[in-house]
């Protein structure tokens, strides 16, 4: 793996964002909009005796957006190559697919930091909510959500490689498909009993349950973090495997030039 090739991929996407206001706005638009809509809802709900509801909701909003940005950092960056008919140029260069993946993951970290930072700042300014009150637990939470976002992003990319550009709607939809089972805004116990085992297979469920536990008790639920890390490692490995299998299939079926042009 060569650092200069990974840096080239990162630069390629940072150039894109430094100049394109619509692309930059897209990174901030939804988190800011969500924060305003749900933030004012929480202000209203403060009148009712629901303990820590504001912290739960705002924390969940910001952390969910971290997962979503991590996923978009991979899948939309991949789509950028398709839209600009640049994919074949990359695949005929010495760039290894693994370097391409690492480059896109790095781009997604930039998106996560930007979107998460702005979200945390706005929550503090408008609602006096301090995300950093989660303390050290915030670090493994963010890492786990980013890792789950990467897995979803890589699966999206693999699907587009396999089925072509018609599958690009997955770049926006797939994360929301898992959201209802990820215990983002409510605990797993709220779900019907038959759905709960599915929710527990989502690394994000353990992170959001963990977040609520930290807010309530101040203690970091290490068991939940351990499960989230284990599941993320498994899903990430499977996603990468799927990506390489899809790339192999795309080469076999002559799809790279076709989806990329």
């Amino acid at each position: 793996m060569k650092g200069y090739r990974i840096r080239a991929i990162i630069r390629r996407h940072l150039y894109l964002y430094q100049r394109s206001i619509p692309r930059l706005a897209e990174v901030f638009f939804w988190p800011v909009l969500d924060l305003f809509v749900w933030g004012f809802v929480t202000l209203y709900l403060r009148q009712f005796p629901i303990p820590r509801f504001v912290e739960f909701l705002l924390g969940a909003l910001i952390l969910w957006d971290i997962l979503f940005r991590a996923q978009q950092g991979i899948s939309v960056s991949f789509l950028e190559e398709i839209w600009s008919r640049n994919l074949p140029n990359l695949f005929v260069s010495p760039l290894r697919p693994s370097e391409f993946l690492v480059g896109l993951m790095s781009v997604s970290i930039v998106k996560v930091v930007l979107a998460g930072g702005v979200g945390a700042l706005l929550a503090w300014v408008f609602y006096s909510y301090n995300l950093f009150a989660l303390g050290l637990a915030l670090i493994p939470f963010v890492i786990n959500l980013t890792a789950m976002g990467w897995s979803i992003g890589i699966v999206t990319m693999a699907t587009i490689l396999r089925y072509g550009q018609e599958a690009e709607m997955m770049a926006w939809g797939l994360a929301f498909l898992v959201q209802p089972f990820s215990a983002v805004f409510y605990p797993v116990s709220v779900l019907p009993s038959w759905l709960q085992p599915i929710a527990l297979l989502m690394p994000a469920s353990h992170v959001f349950e963990g977040m609520r536990a930290v807010i309530e008790t101040g203690a970091i639920p290490l068991d939940r973090l351990g499960i989230a890390i284990g599941l993320n490692l498994l899903y990430f490995a499977l996603a990468v495997l799927l990506f390489f299998r899809s790339l192999q299939a795309a080469r076999k079926r002559g799809l790279i030039l076709r989806i990329g042009t």
């Binding site: 600009s84 640049n86 695949f91 005929v92």
Partner: protein, 251 residues
């Protein structure tokens, strides 16, 4: 018809052995074998759907052959992909560049991907070759199709490739730019012994620039040799007439 290996003392840099690519029941390339030596310019000619682009894609590892082997620079493309691709480059009229980046930014990214040693120097060199230096700060989306083609060609020469694959490289160039491009390619061959394998539908261009022609029809090589030999073998006056004869199934 199998193209016979050239009797030459020069190193073989491109070798295809019994290359076949099937997409389902359709054979896009059928048992194709050929060798190309250092410093040769070989034109791949054939009607639409003859298998030219598929053949080039297989050479570059974009498409996996159903059977057969490909050696570039003496190495197997399946095993030594990274080492081979760092010494090879490609430009196609069907491939573009990120449009929200400036021309210079695009070249600098590809200089990074190819690990070019002195990127600024090399970028200036290729921009000068294709007369695009004044456009360095222009966003690629504002380039004309001819300027974009020249940018893609500049990118293809950034890493000083030993083997260059070009898919219809002059399709969107005006006659002046196309002529300058052909002159540049010839000079690179003469000076650096660069091997060039390319497709074009411009028969005059094929005749003027190619040392040899491979004529592909329905995935098979139906004629091979110098342009003069191919023209003579078909009993025609020029390559365009040969092409028409082959394309209309009169061969």
């Amino acid at each position: 018809m199998q193209e016979t290996v050239q009797e030459t003392t020069q190193e073989t840099v491109i070798e295809a052995r019994h290359l076949t690519k099937r997409f389902g029941s359709v054979a896009a390339v059928c048992n194709v074998s050929f060798c190309i030596s250092t410093g040769e310019i070989v034109g791949l000619l054939g009607p639409n759907g003859a298998g030219k682009t598929t053949l080039i894609q297989m050479m570059l590892g974009l498409v996996t052959p159903t059977s057969g082997e490909i050696f570039l620079l003496g190495k197997d493309i399946r095993r030594d992909t990274e080492a081979i691709l760092s010494q090879v480059n490609f430009s196609s009229t069907y491939v573009s560049m990120p449009t929200s980046l400036t021309l210079y930014e695009n070249l600098s990214i590809f200089a990074g991907l190819y690990g070019v040693a002195r990127p600024e120097e090399e970028i200036e060199r290729v921009m000068a070759w294709f007369e695009i230096a004044p456009l360095r700060r222009t966003l690629t989306k504002h380039l004309s199709s001819g300027q974009m083609t020249r940018l893609c060609l500049a990118k293809a020469l950034l890493n000083r490739p030993r083997v260059l694959f070009l898919d219809e490289p002059t399709a969107s160039l005006d006659p002046d730019a196309a002529d300058k491009t052909r002159a540049r390619l010839r000079s690179l061959r003469d000076r650096d012994q660069m091997t060039i394998f390319y497709t074009s539908h411009n028969m005059q261009e094929m005749e003027s620039i190619s040392d040899r022609i491979l004529l592909l029809q329905q995935g098979e090589i139906v004629a091979a040799g110098t342009p003069a030999e191919v023209i003579q073998n078909y009993g025609k006056d020029n390559l365009e007439d040969v092409f028409l004869k082959v394309a209309r199934g009169e061969s």
